[in-house]
Symmetry: C2
Subunit: 200 residues, 2 copies
DNA sequence: ATATAACGAAACGAGCCGTTTCGTTCAAGT
DNA sequence: ACTTGAACGAAACGGCTCGTTTCGTTATAT
């Protein structure tokens, strides 16, 4: 009868300090809810239930739903934003391919979609997303800085802007649920981006 | 005293038929709420209050919040997706410029952002958005079909895919709240897209 | 040894959800 | 001319989630 309770080993306070076990359980439950049910199912209440945590515990450390969402997001492993294959076209192919795979196979896609959606409603999420993207463009621009040093790309190319352009396409695919792109198809996309649309 | 009521001219039934005045008031209130408060403030309850309409009236004609949102969206005036200036580069500049202005100055931006955000949660919105985008790519692809006839763009360019690529950039700007792009800056973006990133 | 803070559970009032009931207005059918 | 029936706005419903408060318990920090 009471053995059930013992097996479930209820978490409790470990004194006047934060309990890492609760923290982990909450973040993991939050991620699972996002992956399984999307942002629509994501609420403090739902996370508390799933994590067997008290709502006050969550509100103490994550004052808003958005902050909890962003914490889940920042705990993810991210792909290498600036692969170095030696050629600009294969660099871009590698980057987009890695992004698509990360979003498609892991939990990254569902979480990132949710962050973008949240940013359409919550200014705090919008601000955090903007800061994160600026940093990523800066890092990823390295691809183009290297290529310019090799005289492989035109000198008027702005690394950060080029980065934004090439990632825009996969963003749109993420948001419209069309992440599954065959390698030949992706190569064609990269060809459009690298060689431009105009006849030579 | 009672003159106040008379001035507010309460709407009522016009018999066993839909009341266009109520329909208009509801759709207008819905749009205003989206523009002023975003998707977070958008609820049937809020729309009913603002439109001085009964909730059953709304639920009768728009069974879900998503359907009402999509109706607001479809009532918008849309920009010409396939301008014909005679050259591919100016066509694209015109198109992106029109889109940015439409989103930035009117109500279109707030409404479209909301549709995209809703699509991250509601499959019905996702489906509707996908269908709409496919249609727009088809229409807008005309830019590239014309340019190919002029031998202005490479023959391996896929009109619908090229359309998706060039609109992806402004999508991302819309979703990250950076719609204000100076003409020179936009011209630079178009240059990246049209001439590609690689040195000739 | 005492004060302090975190923990999970439970319950709170407030507000929104989608539905139902009500009295009304008026077109459509007889 | 009369009846039927549908649409209208208002109000109230039960059910749910929200963010907060209260409670008894646990264990660190002083």
């Amino acid at each position: 009868m009471t053995g059930k309770k013992a097996a479930e080993t209820r978490r409790t306070s470990i004194g006047a300090q934060r309990n890492p076990a609760s923290q982990d359980a909450i973040l993991q439950a939050a991620e699972e809810i996002l992956v399984e049910g999307g942002l629509g199912s994501f609420s403090i209440e739902a996370v508390a239930r799933r994590a067997h945590a008290g709502k006050p515990t969550i509100y103490r450390w994550w004052p808003t739903r958005t902050i909890l969402l962003l914490d889940v997001y920042h705990r993810q492993k991210f792909v290498d934003i600036a692969p170095d294959t030696g050629a600009i076209e294969t660099d871009i192919f590698q980057l987009l391919s890695d992004l698509l795979e990360f979003w498609n196979t892991g939990h990254g896609g569902a979480v990132f979609r949710s962050v973008i959606a949240e940013a359409q409603t919550d200014p705090a999420a919008s601000k955090a997303l903007a800061a994160y993207m600026a940093e990523r463009y800066q890092q990823g621009g390295e691809i183009f800085r290297r290529a310019k040093a090799r005289n492989e790309v035109a000198d008027w190319v702005v690394p950060e802007l080029a980065m934004e352009i090439i990632t825009s396409f996969v963003w749109k695919r993420l948001l419209t649920d069309r992440l599954e792109i065959a390698p030949e198809q992706l190569r064609l996309v990269v060809r459009h981006l690298v060689h431009g649309l105009k006849a030579q």
